[in-house]
Amino acid sequence: MIDTTSTYHVAYAVVGVIYAAYAISLWVRARRLRERLAAARIRPEPRPE
């Protein structure tokens, strides 16, 4: 039996990082958008026309 433990460790780490990074990116994007949304609501713009 060949020892392939290192390959499997690397693969599990890489895949975990990809999923975690995506989840974080979603969270960051949502937070930034929410801030923008809140800023736009607090400071109502002068009525157009």
């Binding site: 392939t4 895949v15 949502a30 923008r36 949304l37």
Partner: protein
């Protein structure tokens, strides 16, 4: 189909993109909810089970455990991409912006799972086949082209400002891509059939999978399918937030 279908509602406006008559939806409270928590716990559980409580395969050694991440990720990618294709048809039909957002979410999440397939696959192949990449492996090659198509789809979405036009463009692209996949499949098959016999390693259906391994597999399928749905829900909410912010800014 000679004219552009106008959504069958009361007042139609091509520019706003909002489906007619529906009030502006409220901003979602959080992108991740209890469902995401369940999915995250499931994935953590699968990691623990696969690493500590699943026996090591005799021939391939520990590298075989990559299957538990690789194959379910492929399944999740197919789920996500099918949602995109389906929602694209719905969008062209009903002009409902919710379908467009769901299609967008499916594509982005699909790209994440395809990336996982494309990184775990070569890592495994490097040790077991002795080669990072094997062009004669149909599934890996197809996955690569699928990755390029989904990436192009997302780039198109990023390149169109106006919501209604973005929806139409991306829906057309998704539907054409769905027609393209069988052709890529056929041509890759024709290409490899001339050069190589089918790979023996990945012959589907191993009837005598030990029960512990089978259980891990099935649990992994469930966990990553849940993760896929949780990601799509979260990405849909990000899209909703973006649309609301754009509407307020306008």
């Amino acid at each position: 189909m000679t004219t552009i279908p106008v959504s069958n509602g009361t007042s139609n406006s091509g520019s706003s993109g909002r489906s007619n008559g529906t009030p502006a939806p409220a901003a979602p409270r959080a992108v991740f909810d209890w469902f995401s928590a369940v999915a995250a716990l499931g994935v953590v559980g699968i990691y623990i089970r696969a690493i500590y409580f699943t026996p090591i395969e005799r021939l391939q050694g520990a590298a075989q455990k990559i299957y538990y991440l690789h194959v379910p990720a492929a399944l999740a990618a197919y789920i996500a991409i099918s949602i995109t294709a389906l929602m694209s048809i719905v969008y062209l039909w009903l002009h409902d912006e919710r379908a467009d957002r769901l299609a967008e979410a499916g594509a982005e999440v699909g790209l994440v799972f395809l990336t996982v397939v494309l990184t775990s696959g070569p890592l495994w192949g490097h040790r077991i086949w002795g080669a990072w990449w094997a062009w004669w492996d149909m599934r890996l090659t197809l996955t690569l082209f699928l990755w390029f198509i989904v990436a192009a789809y997302l780039i198109v979405r990023g390149g169109v400002e106006e919501a209604a036009m973005r929806g139409r463009y991306s829906a057309v692209l998704a539907i054409l891509a769905a027609l393209l996949i069988p052709f890529i499949h056929l041509s890759v098959y024709l290409f490899q059939a001339r050069l190589h016999p089918m790979p023996v390693v990945l012959k589907p259906g191993e009837p005598s999978l030990p029960p512990e391994m089978l259980t891990t597999f099935l649990l992994a399928f469930a966990a990553f399918a849940l993760l896929c749905i949780a990601f799509i829900r979260a990405r849909y909410r990000v899209g909703l937030l973006r649309d609301l912010a754009a509407e307020l800014a306008a």
